[in-house]
Symmetry: C2
Subunit: 367 residues, 2 copies
């Protein structure tokens, strides 16, 4: 706790001191961050994730078009400084209301009229200070569940709690917003991480105790992965565990996979911390149709969105450089069919267990 | 476990035996259930929840327009029978794929072409057999988190697990799909249940340890409550705990409250089991604007949806019979303003704690 607080406080205070110094010297105070628009988002070929380029953006106080945003950014920094000092967390919505309140009841003017104004400035701060939102005590939405042979050492008030992720029954351990501060992961005794798109499949595999029999860590992001879930996958990969992702073979499923693997446009500014380029795609694949005969009966129609997205993905350099992915995408576009992970429950509910074991054994993954 | 399996199996087998008997006797097999359309949904004034009326629907095999649906219903019953026997769970999507598979690879005809066809027939079965989906081993979507002084005795494989809901740290206990079978709630030592609409507020209050200091059970449905969450609120109310619901003062928040309290049109067929008519509304209310001055600065514009919904709610007999609710709804319609629960974090992050304590102390609830 002490480390994070000290670091965040220090950087926020430095920001304030720099501004103060400029004012004292009669200089125009400036705030500098990196541009986060598409023009400055690049795919790092070597590292394998989306990140920001080097284009800077400067905002100065004595500039008619920048003055308001400068003031707003400082107001946000000041609130975050308070939250960190108090050791209390809120959300970007809570921050919005604090700023709404802070001008007092007599002033009929708001620092922000909409939260859509404050959100990008929080991201500006994260980039400028090289601190994640979680270090500014701003919780992000959380989603995602985990089961497996590992323990969580969490902090609750003054208590240190041990949560055994192998003893959470049908529920699993709910992945929190912040998996970095005042929390540790110990006794990680699994062989790999399996991330399944849908909570329904997580429950199916959890009931079969597959993660226990095969000794892996079973995670579901419950759809698109939240920051906390992306971050814990990254952390588990850092511990040397291979990561396999299991989604539907359709636009949404592929998007979930590539977001885990390469990060996303929206979070490119913290790309390194949330992307897991080592991740591999275990299924379901269109080429499974050749390996498991019955699946040909289990396809459903691809939607317009699926087909459009598949075409778009063929344009991404990091996807079309892989012949396997080109085959996958083209097969959907040609057949206008898609395949869901639930389809593997067709022959019997536990067939999906054998499918996973078989794929892992044969190392049958897409890159 | 044994009880549920025996009961579900018995009722499913009875259904099959009745059909078989009819066939043997040369009679036309029939399946009888209750109509679930709006015309047969009534609000039980005395009990305080939405339920089905007595209008029956009969489906017979030897009827051109009913024959396919009859066959489909029997196919679903047969699959559920198998799931219960195997003691394995799936979802209504998994069931759809099992039925897609079951005609074999050679027959170019599906029992169902869309899941939207099979879903209502599952509900027909639930009603006809007086069994909830959970007893047919069909998991529903889950959502919702809980913290407080109580323990869960869960079953995982052959293991019996104790999960202490006061020791789940920042995560809380994830409320599962099924809170009835092979699971028990023990050592419930809290004084009441507080249900807060948003996970963000749950995290805020959890961080403050408010449930611990005030000894209540803190639940968030994370928006609209899933079946499992509604069901556990009902079960806690059965144990004698008062239930207070805390949402935004807007269309969506009110909808969440009334769904918890009276049940919903969609789940009217299991109304008794998922509604908690004893629930009271703790806030935020439009009348809070008179009690907490600063809140007048914290309102935001009501949307068209909010205003339309407020007008609709004024037409519901179970809402407009309450003068307090009429005042609330009319105040929003007149002022075109609404209030979010997050606004209570305006003055300081912990203000919301005092708000809750104050409301509870003064018993300041809406019915």
């Amino acid at each position: 706790m002490a480390t994070k607080t000290a670091e965040s406080t220090e950087r926020l205070e430095e920001l304030g001191e720099d501004i103060l110094e400029d004012i004292k010297k009669g200089k125009n105070p400036t705030f500098s961050t990196l541009v986060r628009s598409r023009s400055n988002i690049i795919f790092d070929q070597k590292e394998g994730y989306l990140k920001l380029g080097k284009t800077k953006e400067e905002r100065s106080f004595l500039n008619y078009s920048q003055s308001k945003r400068f003031m707003q950014t400082v107001a946000i920094a000041s609130k975050c400084h308070k939250f960190v000092k108090e050791n209390l967390h809120t959300t970007i919505r809570g921050l919005f209301y604090q700023l709404k309140y802070s001008l007092g009841e007599d002033i009929d003017e708001n620092i922000f009229s909409e939260q859509s104004e404050s959100n990008p400035l929080i991201e500006d701060l994260e980039v400028a200070l090289e601190l994640k939102r979680e270090n500014l005590n701003l919780n992000a939405n959380r989603k995602g569940v985990l089961a497996g042979n590992m323990k969580v050492m969490d902090t609750f008030g003054n208590e240190r709690l041990e949560i055994d992720c192998s003893k959470q029954g049908r529920s699993g351990w709910a992945i929190p917003s912040d998996v970095d501060n005042d929390i540790d992961f110990v006794d990680v005794k699994a062989k790999y991480v399996l991330v399944v798109e849908k909570d329904a499949l997580w429950q199916r595999l959890n009931e079969d105790g597959l993660w226990k029999k095969e000794n892996f860590i079973l995670i579901t992001p419950q759809g698109q992965a939240a920051r906390g879930t992306r971050r814990i996958i990254r952390k588990l990969a850092n511990m040397g565990l291979p990561v396999y992702v299991f989604t539907d073979s359709d636009a949404w499923g592929w998007y979930i996979y590539w977001t885990i693997k390469t990060g996303s446009i929206n979070l490119a500014y913290i790309g390194k911390d949330v992307a897991t380029p080592e991740a591999k795609f275990i299924g379901v694949t269109m080429s499974d149709l050749d390996k498991y005969d019955f699946l040909n009966k289990m396809t459903i129609n691809a939607s317009e969105v699926d087909l459009k997205r598949a075409q778009e993905m063929l344009n991404y350099s990091w996807i079309n450089k892989s012949p396997e992915w080109v085959v996958e995408l083209e097969r959907m576009i040609k057949s206008k069919k898609k395949l869901e992970q639930d389809a593997l429950q067709g022959p019997r509910l536990t067939f999906v267990d054998d499918y996973i074991k078989d794929k892992i054994k044969r190392k049958d993954f897409l890159p």
